[in-house]
Amino acid sequence: MLRQTEAARSPVFAKEIIIEPVTRIEGRAKIGITLDDTGSAARVRFHMTSMRGFEKFLVGRPAEEAPGILACISGVCPLQRHLAANQAVEGCFGTKVPPAGRLLRELSQVLAHIGSKTLHFFFLAGPDYLVDSNRYARNIFGIVGQDPELAKRVMQTRYRAQMMLEKLAGRCIQPDAIVPGGFSRPMSCLERDELYAGALEQLEFAGFAVEFAKERVFPRLETELMRLGDIESGFLAMVNTEDGSLSLSDGALRLMRPDGSFHEFWGREYSDFLGEHVEPWSYSKFHYAQGWGEGFSMDLDNPLGIYRTNSLARINVADCISTPLAQAEFVEFRSRFGRPAQSTMLYHRARLIELLHCCEKAVELLEDPRITADHVRNEAVPREGRGVGCVESPRGTLIHDYSTDKDGFITRANLIVGTSHNLAPINMSVTRAARDLIRNGEVTEQVLNRIEMAVRAYNP
């Protein structure tokens, strides 16, 4: 809403701008911009307007119920919450997962990423680059009108990816088949064959998506828009401990400074390295790298403790990617953009590299004969303990930290969702974008959409 304040001086333009809702993201958010007397963005705030506060009500519950509860709190990243919660419970109970259970879980994880990344690139962010800038056409329906064959392929391929996940994990939104100790049921050979055919189709589509983006999206994105929402930060993501390769489900956390140096730690040590900062104008807390010992500041000229998660972070911190096609793209990315690559717009390219990797991984997992083994779950024996589950969600590193009493009831819980790591960086990116784009109080719909594009890159 544009409104003149009581104290306006030379009010030739409006002083407050609201972008609400921030559209074409999965979460709920708004941006508030205050202009100064020169018509420049003086204060910019990005708010996630959904607040959950679920840690409290987990306390006192049987720990094995937590995954089913947490899967249902939102339609955003439900499978990853479900998986991280199970890992945390297993940590508390000291439960190991049998090999087939691990494979089924990892397959669920990559299938969930595939659906999310396809959704984001084509449905959410893609219209900014693929259709006319008219806001009425700047959406997936505009793509349907402009390029119906592309739209049809995208929508149907994503639908089939979702149905693969539904077949495997019980449902594609709010899954239930991942359980403490493993998976709720084994995969039959028939199911494996059906999913394998589907995985090959998804892989072909991912290859198409990468080439499509290189031809139609990245040339503009990585030139005229390269500096949109530009900030400098560190990066946090999970890596495979054996070879430092990109990992989505199992590994150590690697926290990289802006200069490229990094430190690795296990998920259960997260509180030694990650701190929380509170702002009075936000329900959500801002995470920062307290392990760097420099404090917290979102000052664009002197950021302190700021790190990012999600696709760009995972590409930056990894030493390599274990699957060949994605690895080739990774090598090209690294050679062109360095390490760590800072441009916010590079989230899109990083996300498609991950899409390719996830599809390759799905094929690889389904080729593993162990995935159809009967033994998919070990009994979880409730006991006193502490467990920390870490997985990489499409939005960033997800951390679930529980403690249980001798009967296996939760006594303490702390959850860090993927987007909350990125709250400070997103605030900085929209501040950068607003300061760069708003001059002399001139605010157009296209300018404001550009500011939103700085948010969409993060896929909050």
Binding site: I69, M155, Q156, I173, S184, R185
Partner: protein
């Protein structure tokens, strides 16, 4: 999001419907263009789908505007229908939930609340029909895409929906042999007993195996309109009750306690269990409950 998972990726729906406002996919903003209105702007439409419970002032304003602008309002999903899991935090005070965070911005315009603020929370989570008139309630977490499509078709064809009020048990083919052997509810810490690669009809009822399955007190139909199997149970996991009570106004907690007690199953351990009222906490009778945990015996 469930709308995008209709058959073929929602392409079929686009042949029949024009979507005018959907923040996840389209750029329509609440406060006009170029953002110069205090009134929420939502276009007129035949059908309005509203998901989520009413938790804050902004959601309430949006719901009220949708009611004024839409001929038919659909409460989409269990959160809109019954409050859902978010209602569970109603048991706690703000300070317990948010810690050092404040509710709303510290800076406020002296004459009006600054619109730069985050929205103020209401006293508790409300089901949609506690705040506006609702024409169709479609529970589910989320509702199956088939059912969403069926609701939309029913509106344009001016036909009422005829979904029988059945419990999940009525659509579950698991074997029933009698609950006489169950005296206490077991925790779901190991898988149910079933034969690998055999159909669900050869697995014994999960409740009869001693697990807390909410099937008897949960509305059937979570698998869509094609008569599919209950989704959790098909995955060999006890029903968690996300489709809400069989009849509107039903109380899943009381209903399951009655069902278990009538079969001679000890229910005192369930007093502290969360599952029975997980999804329907918005109703005044369930808001503000505090959990009382008792340790189960194995």
């Amino acid at each position: 999001m469930a709308l995008l998972n209709t058959e073929g990726g929602s392409l079929g729906l686009l042949d029949k419907f024009e979507i005018l406002h959907m923040p996840m996919l389209m750029d329509h903003k609440y406060f006009g263009l170029p953002y110069n209105s205090c009134e929420i702007d939502i276009p007129k439409a035949e059908v309005g789908l509203i998901s989520g419970g009413i938790t804050d002032e902004m959601r309430l304003r949006i719901a009220e505007k949708m009611r004024r602008q839409c001929s038919v309002i659909v409460a989409l999903g269990t959160c809109a229908a019954y409050g859902g899991i978010p209602a569970s935090i109603d048991s706690f005070e703000d300070e317990e939930l948010f810690g050092g965070s404040r509710r709303g911005a510290e800076e406020t315009d002296s004459e009006t609340n600054s619109v730069l603020d985050v929205p103020k929370f209401l006293g508790r989570t409300f089901a949609l029909d506690e705040k506006i008139d609702v024409d169709i309630t479609l529970p589910g977490c989320p509702p199956h895409p088939d059912r969403i499509a069926a609701v939309l078709e029913s509106v344009i064809n001016r036909k009422s929906l005829d979904w029988p009020l059945k419990a999940v048990c009525d659509s579950c083919p698991a074997k029933r042999e009698g609950k006489g052997g169950v005296h206490k509810i077991r925790r779901f810490v190991k898988n149910a007993r079933y034969q690998v690669n055999k159909p669900l009809s050869e697995m014994r009822c999960l409740l009869e195996q001693g697990f807390l399955c909410m099937g008897p007190v949960t509305l059937a139909g979570c698998a869509g309109t094609g008569g599919g199997l209950p989704r959790c149970i098909e995955a060999r996991v006890p029903c968690r009750g996300c489709h809400g009570p069989v009849r509107k106004g039903g109380n899943q907690l009381l209903d399951i306690l009655n069902a278990l007690a009538s079969n001679g199953i000890d229910t005192k351990d369930l007093a502290g269990r969360f599952l029975p009222h997980l999804f329907c906490g918005a109703r005044a009778g369930l808001a503000g409950r505090r959990s009382v945990r008792t340790a189960p015996e194995f």
